[in-house]
Structure formats: C-alpha cells, structure tokens
C-alpha cells in the first residue's frame, strides 16, 4: 500500500487573497518578518500496489480532476505504508 500526499497551490502568477489576508493577520499579531503566505490544499490518497506506474497514475489524476492547471500547481510525495 502506498500513501500519496498531494499539495495543491495557486500558480505563482495568481494572487492568493487568502494568503494575503493571513499575511496581514500575522503582521498585526507581531510577525512582521513574514514576507509571503500562500494557502493551498492537501490531499491524501491511499493506493494499492496493483498500480505499475504510480507516478504516471497520480499525475493523470491531478491533471484530470484533482487540480485545475489553469490556476493551480501541484506536487506530490509517495510513502510506503502498511495495508489498511
């Protein structure tokens, strides 16, 4: 069994108003050193070992459904875990 952790963020060129709002809140809470905040999504997938090319499979899932590549970037990491 593999656990895939997917991180989805808005593309760099796109203003992230949630991140901007949180940055402002951090500044007002006494953390002026924070230069930028980007907020994204985190998805965990549990995938059984029947998949031969898990990288290709996860890329396909991300591009078809899990992200909108017009506005979002993604990256993922794969860990080996015990079967559920």
């Amino acid at each position: 069994m593999k656990k895939v952790n997917i991180f989805v963020t808005l593309r760099e060129s796109i203003l992230d108003p949630q991140g901007s709002a949180v940055k402002g809140a951090l500044h007002s809470h006494g953390f002026p050193e924070v230069q930028d905040v980007r907020i994204g999504k985190y998805l965990e997938l549990m995938i059984d070992d029947s998949v031969e090319d898990i990288d290709a499979a996860v890329n396909e899932m991300c591009q078809k459904l899990l992200t909108n590549t017009v506005i979002e970037n993604y990256r993922f990491e794969i860990e080996e875990v015990a079967a559920i």
């Binding site: 808005l10 796109i14 108003p17 949630q18 709002a21 459904l65 909108n68 017009v70 506005i71």
Partner: protein
C-alpha cells in the same frame, strides 16, 4: 423551443431557470438529472447556479464528470445554445467548454447584490435583444467569480469578441478586464457569473435578464423558420 435545465446534486437556481422558460417565455422546459445521458430532444441547455457536489474539491470540478456532460459536449459541438450561470459557468470552464477559470473573489467575500453590466457584444445568439454597449442591471450571488485566463487567451477572447458582458461600475470580484461573461469561439456556449434568471420581472426588481432568454428563442426561431 424546448429547454433542458440540468440538475446536479446541489443545484439551487434550477427552479428559477425553469420558471423563466415556462412562465415568462411560455416555452417548453424540463428538468434533466445529471445522471441522464441524452439531450437530443432539447434545443437549448441551461446549467443553473448553485453548489454542485457541495463545491467540494473546486467549484464545478466534480460536476464536469457527470454522465450528462458527454451529452452537453455533444450539444455544444452541434451548435445548440448552452447557458451556464454562476456555478454553471464554473462547470463549463472546468469541462473545457469555455476558456479560463474562476477564483475566489478578491475580497474573499460572498457577494449578493444587483450590479451594472455592460453589453460588450450584442451580436451573439444570447444578446441580440440588447443594444450594443447598453448598461443593464443583473444580480450577482457568488463567492468565486473572479474570472482569470492567461494573456494569450485574453487576447483571443478580445480578437474573437468573446467577451459578452463586463461589470460596468464596480468590479465585484476582481475578474480580469472586468469580465462578467464569455462565449466560446463558436458563440453558442455562454458562461456568466451574474444571474439573468433572477431579473425577469419588475416584481423581482428588474427585467433586464429576460431579454437574454428572449434572444435565445428569437435566434432559434429565425434559424429554424424553414423547418416550420
């Protein structure tokens, strides 16, 4: 003319759409559940606003893979008029029937009020009953209506006159170039954030939205006159 109002789990403007067609226009209309696969009996497709699949993952992301979407793709290719409002607009961009994407409103607020729109192109099957450059009043109600696309897409939208409506006075959501509604290159698929179906009678505060639906019917009658 016979319209389909597509109903997804979470659609909530479907009844408004149905009301416009049946009661204000007097045309045929049916609800079509998203698990249906056939739209051949219909002349026009309406994709209403709401929160399809709870807006889980992204607005419109899950709806794009509903069974009915294949039939909607076919109807689009056949040149039938397809109107997506609000969540319907989001679904059409996710499905690749319209370019661009919708982001959270720049001020992060859900906004619900009437805004002024400018008719940028009255030469589409959705807008012939408006004057070119006319200002109309249509309500908005959305949290993710900030339209965005890359520079190349924006240029082609301008070159092909695909920008149909823009926000006239204030830009409520931060959308690029004040865009409120766009059509596809063929001109038969319109997506817009404001709700024309909520402005179809003076009792609702205005009837500027009604002419959009009247335009669709007028266009259909004109192009089918030889068959009648």
């Amino acid at each position: 003319m016979k319209f389909a109002v597509i109903v997804f789990p979470g659609s909530n403007c479907d009844i408004d759409m149905y009301h416009v067609i049946k009661d204000e226009l007097g045309e045929d209309v049916e609800y079509v559940w998203h698990q249906e696969a056939d739209l051949q009996a219909f002349d026009g497709i309406l994709i209403p606003g709401g929160f399809s699949y709870g807006d889980y993952l992204r607005c419109g992301a899950i709806a794009q893979f509903s069974t009915i979407m294949t039939a909607i793709q076919e109807a689009a290719a056949a040149g039938k008029p397809i109107l997506g409002v609000c969540n319907g607009f989001q679904i059409l961009t996710e499905a690749g029937l319209l370019p661009g994407a919708l982001l959270r409103n720049q001020n992060l607020k859900f906004m619900c009020r009437t805004v002024r729109l400018k008719v940028e192109n009255n030469d589409t099957m959705f807008t012939t009953s408006y004057e070119q450059g006319e200002e109309i009043h249509i309500p908005i109600a959305h949290g993710e209506g900030n339209y965005i696309c890359d520079d190349k897409t924006l240029q082609s939208l301008k070159d092909n006159r695909q920008i149909v409506f823009t926000y006239a006075s204030e830009n409520p959501n931060g959308s690029i170039e004040n865009i409120a509604g766009v059509v596809n290159e063929a001109g038969n698929v319109l997506g817009m954030m404001p709700h024309p179906e909520r402005a179809v009678h003076e009792l609702l505060g205005g009837a500027d939205g009604l002419r959009l639906f009247q335009s669709i019917v007028k266009h259909w009658r004109e192009s089918h006159v030889s068959h009648v």
